[in-house]
Assembly symmetry: C2
């Protein structure tokens, strides 16, 4: 509206991080601009603009001056006493997109783009974004909307270009112990001569993300230039995607999904594919673990989700294979960054390891290799196994560690594991019939994973193992005795491992 | 969890109003407690507790000290350098309620109560509350959930008790010009000898709420004790409910609904009935205006909504009548606080006025009177008309004005109306066939209503009026020439009045 003029202020940064963009303004200025607490404004400097929310003060700044939170200062490059404009934004034009969704209408590509652009620019608070995500639980995105969402998420972030064909693999997650799969699959793909600059996230709800686990062995936090240089040198990376500004809308969505404990499928597909497009991925293998407590409960659901990935990848011109894998129990024997890094390293060095880890990693590597067209379908795993057994996967992994600033000669026993330890033993003899993913995750996180790198769980037995009375079932590690106790409390509330149908109650 | 210990801090108030509860904490303490920006905590002093969100600073407070926002300081009565506890609340137990809703399950009464209690105590951010409201757009509350919601909203706020039977009337709103109906209906009900301590809200999206309009003539902001004293003295109030702490969850919900431009029916029914129960209302008349651009589009929808009100009132032991009224054009000739106060006063003094206003006010007063059982159904309006025409409604209105600290001798021309004026004339001869409620509301609000009390719209013609070329159609008032221009811009974009099917384009 025409009377909503931009007013200029002398701006400085405020040393308060409140998890959202704010601008602190004197109550006199607020009254003049008709702004209440938490009103939306745009802060403008030159041709850059950033959404922020108003905080009102009587004393912290005088009229004519404002304080802005760090993200705003950084995005707009605001230095000491710089002049910026502040403009009220009562209802942004892109609000139409949310309004339509909440009234059961589909968004056009333009509407989706406007909405995502304003989300990324900080124009919306969690209030509106939460409504957008919640609406998807009941009123799924159409395939056209999903495609528009993916494109908008890519276009509102940075892109990294590689000269060669780019391969990648990605698991939708939800199974403890999965973070280490990439530490075996990625070097194997690269050992086959393919370029696989993998970036991954840190754990959100699991005990470890691939980035957390790799960080035990090397740096993972790189600029786009550094990432490209590593990929050029060793044709593989195992890096953290967090600072690369790939599909930055995703971080905003994930943060809110976590608070609401929701994970709408279409949004998940968008997150994954948008980041891959931004990384220039040409061929992708998606891993969908299936299990009663995994994100996908059964094969019918897996088919539906796979269909979404496959159709969207086709529209994006991306080659894709979807692997539906067993997610009914943890992958390998460990959950937690250092424990998983140790297990992966051991497996690569000794060329043997837990079947659930090794078969999964080599199957996925094989599927990626098949996408190159150099190997006929169904034979990728043989190539992968051959590379692994010849030690070429380990050799490539050493190169990656070194290129990422780590010690290529690191040995499994060099990795520091939490010194506070408790082992739960089986009270009976019998076969392990069930391991509860959710319980293992809860125990590992209570022990401190992923922030405490040495925290986690080691499983002495997996489903089908025969054990004697008194045999160890699982060992919990933590760097803090309080955390260890907390993890034991969780273990006693849940039943992480079931032997012969008997619930094992742990009463430490 | 047991390791999430309460840590004690020296607390002081921070002079920043950000529209939510915050606690500013040094980064060292944040790290020790495992708190990130925007993490949820409980602030505890004695037996009182308040939810707040973490803001992290390096310099604004030193370790061991915190700053809390005003609401937290006020609720917990925190003075200078008081000691308070801060306790992380990763996932409150009441989160189960939201989780169930978002997964398509019904809430029990206990779950609803826990959820609402934590909403009122500030434990949840708009993120979660937005998801709760959005879910209702697709997955309506069941009648049991709605009843639990109403009871929880009442129980988490204050209640006011009166010794006599309490009557009330309430419009669901959505039609401009409606705020003045109560200024005629309420004194008429009271003149019939009934106790009607009406509290109402300020405008949220309309040009004026009853509280805004009454405030032109008298005070409306009272403590519960003052309100009871006024009701004791004159057996009627026309007060603002905002500071009475009646069903305080409602303010939180309304604020978010406004941001999302949504208004789920069940939530509206809960808001209205919870406030009435908290005010001890025994008998209630609900007005449902029906019209293409009103909240309720047709009679079928009106029946559905009326059914919700009637069944819930029965479960609450409240007598109820529902009036479905014509909401296809504004009520009376005015929209905006001072203009509407003026029209109501004129109508009461001269005992005549716009038919749409007078018939509606007397019908509603009549229905309330019928609820007393003293008048047979269908005859309440005669009693109401009689009281009105004898001047007894005006006499009671004068008493209310005086009891609320206003001047009972105030005349319509005493009321200050915006001095910046523009009248739109008809470019043709013909009959008015349509007046657009949404356009009238947008024009009045652009002119400054409800904050600028003198701003608004005067309609010279209503639907069915015959007019000549050059006759005035509507006059816009504002206290600001910029705002007047803005209102004219809106008027030229919409077509507020249609004469004989011709869109009247205004190009000022």
């Amino acid at each position: 509206m025409s009377h909503l003029q931009t007013k200029h202020f002398i701006a400085n940064e405020i040393d308060i991080d409140i998890g959202r963009n704010i601008v602190v303004i004197n109550e006199k200025d607020a009254r003049e601009l008709g702004l209440g607490p938490n009103t939306r404004v745009r802060v403008i400097k030159g041709d850059r603009t950033r959404g922020a929310f108003v905080a009102i003060t009587k004393t912290m700044v005088s009229p004519g001056k404002i304080l802005v939170s760090r993200d705003v200062a950084r995005e707009l490059k605001i230095g000491k006493d710089d002049t910026v404009g502040v403009k009220p934004v009562p209802v942004p034009p892109s609000f139409t997109a949310l309004r339509k969704r909440l009234h059961g209408q589909r968004l056009t590509q333009d509407e989706m783009y406007m909405w995502i652009k304003d989300v990324v620019e900080g124009v919306y608070s969690e209030t509106e974004i939460s409504a957008f995500l919640t609406s998807q639980l009941y009123y799924e995105l159409s395939e056209d909307e999903l495609n528009a969402l993916i494109r908008a998420m890519v276009e509102t972030g940075s892109r990294i270009e590689f000269e060669d064909t780019v391969y990648d693999e990605h698991s939708i997650g939800g199974v403890p112990g999965n973070s280490k799969v990439a530490l075996i699959a990625v070097p194997t793909v690269s050992a086959a001569g393919l370029l696989i600059p993998k970036t991954s996230s840190r754990a959100i709800t699991s005990p470890a993300g691939t980035a957390d686990t790799m960080e035990v062995l090397a740096r993972v936090d790189f600029t786009p230039e550094e990432l490209k240089e590593i990929a050029r040198k060793v044709r593989a990376t195992l890096a953290w995607g967090g600072r690369l500004n790939l599909a930055p809308a995703d971080d905003i969505f994930v943060n809110i999904e976590r608070k609401l404990a929701i994970d709408p499928w279409h949004q998940m597909v968008a997150s994954i594919l948008a980041k891959k497009v931004a990384m220039g991925v040409d061929n992708l293998v998606i891993d969908i673990p299936v299990g009663r407590k995994a994100k996908v409960k059964d094969l019918k659901e897996a088919d539906q989700l796979a269909g979404l990935f496959i159709r969207q990848a086709a529209r994006l011109g991306m080659g894709i294979r979807v692997a539906v894998t067993y997610g009914g129990q943890p992958i390998g024997k460990t959950a937690g960054p250092a424990l998983e890094a140790k297990e992966a390293l051991e497996t690569l060095i000794t060329r043997k390891g837990s079947k659930s880890l090794l078969e999964k990693a080599l199957s996925i590597a094989g599927l990626v290799i098949e996408l190159s067209g150099k190997v006929p379908p169904g034979h990728g795993i043989e190539v992968a196994r051959d590379l692994f057994e010849k030690g070429l996967s380990y050799q490539k992994f050493r190169q990656i560690i070194e290129a990422q600033g780590g010690d290529p000669n690191v040995k499994p026993d060099d990795l520091p594991i939490g010194e506070h330890i408790y082992t739960i033993e089986s009270p009976i003899e019998g076969a392990v019939t069930h391991i509860d993913n959710a319980a293992i995750t809860a125990i590992a996180r209570a022990a401190g994973a992923p922030y405490d790198k040495g925290a986690g769980v080691y499983l002495h037995a997996k489903v089908g193992y025969r054990i004697n009375k008194g045999d160890p079932l699982l060992t919990i590690y933590s760097s803090s005795s309080i955390r260890l106790q907390e993890a034991l409390n969780i273990a006693s509330r849940y039943s992480p491992i079931i032997v012969e149908g008997m619930l094992i109650k742990i009463l430490p």
